[in-house]
């Protein structure tokens, strides 16, 4: 009789497995990231004020975002794994200022969605990408926010409920090929200490309160591997899976408004963020400025992004859910219909961000860090790497970038359409007909077209106040 091969457990792999299991493995990675963050903060404050010449702005807005995309696509949530912002956690816990529990009403994604929206709005309004100084203040704000929340609350609310980068990584990692699971569920059933979540005197348990044998999704997993180190039975595994496993899973997906709207909002923000840098947004700003008789760019951008990133995804997904439910002749609550199809949007959402950050900014500017670093060394009297060659920039010919972005978007669309039809076929009680899927298909097509139109428009990067 054929038995399926057990999934590959990376924690058992020769070298990489030992490194991942190493007690100080995460601390080592976090320390490297912390040193990098300190270097960036230093250059942000003291280096050239011009963003393309400063390590902080180039490393964060080009390389961090680019590597993040590739890490999520080919491995998993590696940034959260090595996140330096949570490094002062032990110090914060030592202070134990309050020891509160995170308020029950806030144990959802609404705060995360709000913070992500505010972050994206500030990004455009303050032109963070054009200012090394503001960029490093954002980094410092992360450290402070993580520290305060860790000091005040007993669990890790910053990662799970607040951090906009974590929110980005959580949703994106639902299409990542690595996932925490357990080798033998029976061992967990009889386990007394449940150290993977509770921790032990020697090791931390899961900071985001995930119980390893019940993990069905990468959402909320920071890939810290504390669960693997804590498990006394050596039963936690880091397995390779299909990137579409979650999008096509027949396992019940939480029927929560916040989680499901987050995925669709995330897809729309991918378009909205790129739209902030193409000529039509400036025409729209002017039109709104005249209409509202205001010269407040902050207000105008707030209105634009409130519509693009919130009102539009929420309105359209509710309309699609209502129509889909009616066409399927179901009588279920609307959030059940939403939960059936929203996870299928994850590949499309990720594709939008990947095309923008990975395809355009990273591939178009990957080598720019070399002259910037050479310049940094020269400014500190170190001539070992010679004079900067400022002509270095693109990793690939610029003429390739548009086709690459197109391929990424179309791949995301194809994956989402596949996931959509898969989820429809496995719908509770009976499959949904193709006609019931139509509203979602149209929404996905609309998103893909919007992405392609925006990505094919000439970019116009304005770092000065529009109304100046």
């Amino acid at each position: 009789m054929h038995a399926p091969a057990p999934p590959t457990n990376l924690l058992n792999a020769p070298l990489i497995g030992r490194l991942l299991r190493w007690r100080w493995g995460r601390l080592f990675g976090q320390t490297l990231f912390l040193l990098a963050a300190l270097l960036l903060i230093y250059d942000g404050f003291t280096g050239p004020p011009l963003a393309p010449e400063n390590l902080a702005s180039v490393a964060i807005w080009v390389h961090y975002r680019g590597f993040l995309i590739f890490a999520l696509l080919f491995a998993g949530n590696l940034f959260c794994m090595n996140c330096p912002f949570t490094l002062p956690r032990t110090l914060a816990h030592k202070l134990s200022l309050a020891g509160w529990r995170w308020p029950r009403r806030l144990r959802n994604k609404w705060v995360a969605i709000s913070v992500l929206m505010i972050y994206l709005w500030l990004y455009e309004w303050l032109d963070l990408w054009a200012s090394p100084l503001l960029t490093v203040w954002i980094v410092i704000a992360y450290f402070i926010a993580a520290f305060i929340l860790e000091a005040l609350f007993t669990e890790s609310p910053f990662c799970k409920y607040v951090c906009p980068l974590g929110t980005f990584n959580f949703v994106s990692s639902t299409i990542s090929p690595l996932q925490i699971t357990v080798s033998d569920g029976e061992i967990c059933r009889t386990c007394v200490g449940k150290e993977c979540i509770n921790g032990s005197p020697q090791t931390l348990g899961c900071g985001t309160q995930l119980f390893a044998p019940q993990i069905q999704s990468n959402l909320d997993c920071v890939l810290c591997l504390d669960c693997a180190r804590a498990c006394p039975h050596d039963n936690v595994a880091l397995t390779v899976r299909s990137p579409l496993k979650e999008a096509t899973s027949s396992a019940p997906w939480p029927r929560r408004w916040d989680l499901n709207l987050l995925i669709i909002i995330f897809a729309f923000t991918g378009v909205g963020n790129a739209f902030g840098m193409v000529p039509p947004v400036y025409e729209l700003e002017l039109w709104l400025a005249n209409l509202l008789r205001t010269d407040s760019e902050g207000l105008i951008l707030f209105l634009i992004f409130a519509v693009l990133n919130l009102a539009l995804p929420i309105g359209l997904s509710l309309a699609a859910a209502w129509l889909s439910r009616a066409l399927a002749k179901r009588t279920e609550p609307l959030r059940y219909t939403l939960a059936r199809y929203a996870p299928a949007f994850a590949p499309m959402a990720f594709a939008g961000w990947a095309a923008h950050y990975g395809g355009f900014h990273f591939l178009g500017s990957a080598l720019s860090i070399i002259p910037v670093f050479q310049n940094f060394l020269l400014d500190h009297g170190i001539q070992a790497l010679g004079q900067p060659n400022w002509a270095l920039g693109p990793a690939l010919p610029l003429s390739w970038l548009d086709p690459i972005e197109l391929v990424i978007v179309l791949t995301g669309l194809a994956a989402s359409l596949y996931a959509l039809s898969h989820r429809a076929r496995r719908a509770a009680s009976r499959p949904d007909s193709p006609i019931a899927q139509l509203p979602w298909v149209l929404l996905l097509l609309g998103l893909a077209i919007a992405m392609m139109v925006v990505f094919y428009l000439p970019m116009e990067m304005r770092g000065s106040a529009f109304f100046s």
């Binding site: 404050f45 003291t46 393309p52 807005w61 202070l95 032109d127 054009a130 400022w390 116009e460 990067m461």
Partner: protein, 129 residues
């Protein structure tokens, strides 16, 4: 004051001190004796011509300078556009230049005179698509 709080306080003060250091003037040397004026034929995306006029303080043209230009977009990571020339006539140095993208551009002009004196100046342009 508890030791930990004191350490945090010191770290905060150090951070503020670092903030005050903003703006290392990367490899730039300004020279009050030399005037640099820049003009561009077009502020639309595409090929254009840069006209750099170099004079001394009295307005006398300087023709024997090496002029190099680096045009940056405001976004981090965008490849700059470089140009240079050493042939000026009546203090005016012409060089082809390309605005590769619309948006804010920061053009830095660096001048090295025959006697070794240097000067640099930054010019900002808003380029339309």
């Amino acid at each position: 004051m508890p030791p930990l709080s004191r350490k945090l306080f010191v770290m905060f003060i150090l951070l503020l001190a670092l903030t005050a250091c903003n703006g290392r003037n990367s490899q730039q040397t300004d020279n009050a004796d030399i005037r640099i004026i820049a003009a561009v034929a077009s502020t639309q995306v595409g090929q254009t011509e840069l006209l750099i006029t170099i004079t001394d303080n009295a307005g006398n043209p300087i023709n024997d300078a090496e002029v190099s230009v680096k045009g940056d977009m405001s976004h981090a990571g965008m490849t700059p556009v470089l140009a240079e020339t050493s042939s000026g006539s009546d203090g005016v140095y012409k060089m082809p230049f390309e605005w590769t993208m619309g948006g804010d551009w920061i053009v830095n002009v660096e001048v090295v005179l025959a006697d070794g004196r240097t000067a640099s100046q930054q010019f900002n342009y808003e380029i339309a698509n």
